[in-house]
Symmetry: C2
Subunit: 230 residues, 2 copies
DNA sequence: GCGGACAAGATCGTATACAATCGTGTCTGC
DNA sequence: GCAGACACGATTGTATACGATCTTGTCCGC
C-alpha cells in the first residue's frame, strides 16, 4: 500500500515528498543536515529545486532553515510537542465524529486494509513504515470526514508528531499495537459518532502519555543550554 | 499600530509580508494576477526572491500557483469558505478560553488599544485596515493563550477568511462593529473562560451567517462552469 | 464565414554562475 | 601557552541566462 500520489519525478514536490517520507519513517533523524548540494546530487536536480523543496518542508516545520547554515531535520522542543498534541486534541476528535457519520462501506474496506498493512509492517520488522501508516490512518479519517482544510492541518501535525515520537518516545511500548485504530474502525463501521469522538480523544491522550517530555530535553536548543545542565 | 516584525527589506519574507498585507486589506482582490516579473520590478528584486515569496503565500493558500501560468490571489470556493470557518470553530473557542485564563493586565491593555485602533480605522474610512486589525485581534488571542502552533493555524485561517469576506460578504453590515471583540475583551479581563469560549463560538457563527455562500459562487472555478449556469 | 493548424510572444521552470556569509584552522604577538 | 586577528574553505543567497510550456493571434483550407 503506497500513496497513490505521484509527481513528475524530479519536481520539487516529489523531492519534498521523498524527504518527508524518509523523515516520517525515521530514516532521517531529527537534527540531520540536509545540504542543498548533497540532496541535489542524490536526486539529480539542481539546487533550485532542492531549495524549493526544503522551503516547503520548512514551512511545514519538518525541517528548520538556518540562514547561511542550511536545512536540518527539525528537533521539536517539549513545548512544541505539547502544543502539537493539544492542537490535535482540538481537531481530531470532532473530525473522527464526522468521519463516523459519513463513512461509506468503501471507506471501511479501505481502512480495514490500511490497518492490516500497519500490522504487517510491524510484524515484518519495519517499525518506521508502521509508524508512517499509523499516521496516515488519522489523515484518512479527515479525508472521510470530507474536511480538506482540517485534513491539511492534520497532515502537518501528524508529520510533526513523527518527529516528536522520534525524540520523546518513552519506550518500545507496542503503542501502535494498542488496538486504538481497530476500535476506531469499529465505531466508524457502526456510524457511532459519539464513540469515535471519545475513542480518538483517548487515543491522543494515550499517545501523549507514552511520551517523556520531561527527561528528554530535545538534543539541545542552542547547545550552550545543553551543557549548562550540570 | 503597525506590526512590530520587520525583515531585511528586500528578503522574500518581507515581500511575502507586504503582499499578504495588500491581500488582507483587499487592495489586491481575489483573482488578481501576481506576475513574477512585475512584482520583482516593483520591489527591486529578482524573480528568485519573488518566487520564494509566492511559494510561501501559495502554501498558505493565499495565492494559487498555476503551472506555467503564474500566481493569482486565491478565490476560495464556498466549500472552502465553509471549511475554513469550521476549522476556526474547532480551534478558536477553546483558545479564547485559555487566553481568558492566562491574560495579564498588560495583555488587556494591549487588546484595549487594539480595539480602539479597529474603531479608528473604521471611522477614518479605512475598512480594509479595520478588517485586517479585526483579524489580528483573533491572532492576539492565540498569542495570549500561549499556543504558537495553534496560532500559526489561526493566522492562516484568518488570512483566508479575509479572502472569503472579500468574495462572500453579504452586505456592509457593520459587522466589525458588532461589539463582539469588546465583549470578548471584557470576558478576558474578568478571566471568565466560559464566557470567552461561548462568545467566540457565537462570534464565529455570526461571521459565517454574514456571508452568502449560496448565491455567490466564487467568480468561477474553471470559467466553463461559471457560464454553464444558465 | 468558420474551424483547425501553425507560429509568435509571453510567462514560467530550471540550471548555472557569482557574491555574501559563516565556520574553522592557523598564525602571530603577548 | 593563550587570546585575538586573519584568511581560507565550505555553504548558502541572489541574479541572470536559457529552455519548456502555454496563450493567443494569424493564416490557410474547407
Amino acid at each position: 500500500m503506497d500513496d497513490g500520489v505521484q509527481f513528475s519525478e524530479g519536481s520539487s514536490e516529489a523531492i519534498a515528498h521523498r524527504l518527508a517520507l524518509a523523515i516520517h519513517e525515521h530514516r532521517l533523524p531529527p537534527g540531520a543536515k540536509l545540504s542543498e548540494d548533497e540532496v541535489g546530487e542524490i536526486f539529480g536536480v539542481s539546487r533550485t529545486i532542492v531549495r524549493a523543496a526544503l522551503q516547503r518542508l520548512g514551512h511545514d516545520r519538518l525541517v528548520t532553515l538556518k540562514r547561511n547554515r542550511g536545512a536540518f531535520v527539525s528537533q521539536p522542543t517539549p513545548r512544541e510537542a505539547r502544543e502539537v498534541f493539544e492542537a490535535r486534541a482540538l481537531l481530531e476528535p470532532r473530525t473522527a465524529r464526522s468521519a463516523a457519520q459519513r463513512a461509506t462501506p468503501k471507506d471501511i474496506a479501505l481502512l480495514t486494509r490500511h490497518i492490516e498493512a500497519e500490522h504487517s509492517a510491524l510484524h515484518a520488522g519495519e517499525p518506521g513504515k508502521a509508524l508512517r501508516l499509523s499516521g496516515q490512518f488519522h489523515i484518512e479519517l479527515a479525508r472521510i470526514a470530507d474536511q480538506d482544510t482540517i485534513r491539511d492541518f492534520i497532515i502537518q501535525l501528524v508529520a510533526r508528531s513523527s518527529l516528536i515520537i522520534a525524540l520523546f518516545w518513552r519506550r518500545r511500548q507496542a503503542l501502535c499495537e494498542s488496538g486504538a485504530h481497530d476500535a476506531l474502525l469499529r465505531a466508524l463501521a457502526a456510524h457511532d459518532g459519539d464513540s469515535a469522538e471519545e475513542l480518538m480523544k483517548g487515543h491522543l491522550l494515550d499517545l501523549v502519555s507514552s511520551l517523556d517530555l520531561r527527561n528528554a530535553p530535545a538534543p539541545a536548543y542552542t547547545l550552550s543550554e545543553a551543557l549548562a545542565q550540570r
